[in-house]
């Protein structure tokens, strides 16, 4: 491995969170972004080729050294660490709506899920998976929510573009303000179905 790859490995090993390529580049003033990319690739290949127990993970716009899934059960059995608890259906549905519709208000989430969302939103906010990103211009200026980098980290996603593509779904990635538009989409879907 190149000296830069070794430096990056040391930095990633010491870090407790995903580190972005820009942050890694700041380790060595001589290194260009391209050098960092090459070194990261070298590190990834090193772990893969030599069949290390860890691999280079890429998520939330950064890099992180992660254990391989094959070792999860044994590590957990030894109680060295614990697996993140499973997310409930209510949590996942709420996260799904927010991930695709952000920035989105509570009313819209409740409208789509058909249940009140206050409790779930509060707990998601406490866990740092969503945050208030602004206020709507609508009556009462309700709070608008968006997902956080921690959300991407929890799901192991690089960024929001890694979510299933909008074309594969009837809902749009961006909120459609006009409800008529949504009705048209649904109508078109109904016709296609029947």
């Amino acid at each position: 491995m190149s000296p830069l790859a070794q430096l990056l490995e040391a930095a990633l090993f010491s870090a407790c969170r995903p580190i972005t390529a820009e942050e890694l580049a700041s380790l060595d003033s001589e290194a260009s972004p391209a050098d960092v990319r090459v070194a990261l690739e070298q590190l990834r290949e090193h772990y893969d080729f030599n069949q290390h127990g860890v691999e280079l993970g890429e998520m939330a716009g950064g890099y992180q050294i992660l254990t391989r899934p094959a070792h999860a059960a044994a590590i957990e059995r030894a109680q060295f660490t614990v697996r993140a608890p499973k997310l409930t259906a209510a949590t996942l549905e709420t996260l799904a709506v927010i991930a695709y519709r952000q920035p989105v208000g509570r009313l819209e989430i409740e409208e789509i899920r058909g249940v009140s969302a206050g409790g779930v939103l509060r707990s998601l906010q406490e866990r740092g998976l969503i945050e208030v990103v602004g206020r709507s211009e609508a009556l009462g200026r309700p709070l608008l929510y968006g997902t956080t980098p921690l959300f991407l980290e929890l799901l192991g996603l690089g960024d929001l573009a890694d979510l299933p593509k909008a074309e594969e779904l009837t809902i749009a990635l961006r909120p459609h303000r006009a409800t008529a538009e949504g009705a048209d989409e649904a109508a078109a879907y109904v016709e296609a179905e029947s």
Binding site: K86, E93, Y100, L157, P164
Partner: protein, 254 residues
Amino acid sequence: MTATEPLTLPEPPTSALGGGAGFVVELEAFSGPLDLLLHLLREEQLEIADIPIARIADQFLQAVHELGLNQAADYLDMASRLVRLKVQMLLPRNSEEDGWEDPRAELVRRLLEYQRIREVAVWLGRAAARRAEQFARGYLPPAPVLPPPPLALNLMDMLSAIDRVIAGMPSPVLHNVVARPLNVEAATRRIEDLLAEQDQIRWLDALGSGVTIADVLSTLLALLELAKRGRLRLLQPTPFTPMVIARESPRSAA
């Protein structure tokens, strides 16, 4: 995981639903009325686009009833919508009429949208489960991201900063400081003055007029103290009559 739907269940669902269809439904299995509705449609293998509203409305009401979900406003809201749709579908209509709009269109749109969200939710759940198979270094709270100088703050940043500061503040410990309300000395003097004039006084006389709770306590303490010192006797001739305060030895005291 703390996020749960605010649904209260009076009693655990025990009965089968669907009129002998023979399946038992657990409340936890549903994340809302749309979920229950989709479940019913799937069980009956019905198309979302062409819901037999009358049948589904009846089944939904039965399910809600048998699940004991009567208290869940979200389910009742859906139930009322279904009943209204059922009525609308019964109204005579001219199907060739251009302006006629299927009253079910809104429900169909919501169901399709919800179904998509469920799809995404399942995908998210799998992604999270995959990620949970891999461990990173021990967790430390991420360091706060410092904004580059000059500080570029917006209103939300400011408000959340204020929230954090307020949340971290210890709540002040407040003591109610009152001037010493008890004045046993004065009460003692008053009782002694009264007993100098009379052999016996009543409890109410000892209190005087316009008394506060502090005065009552002061007087009581003074009486007990004087009784202990043998200066007076506390008597109650018969039960439930006013207490009488008597000078202990009238002659010697006089």
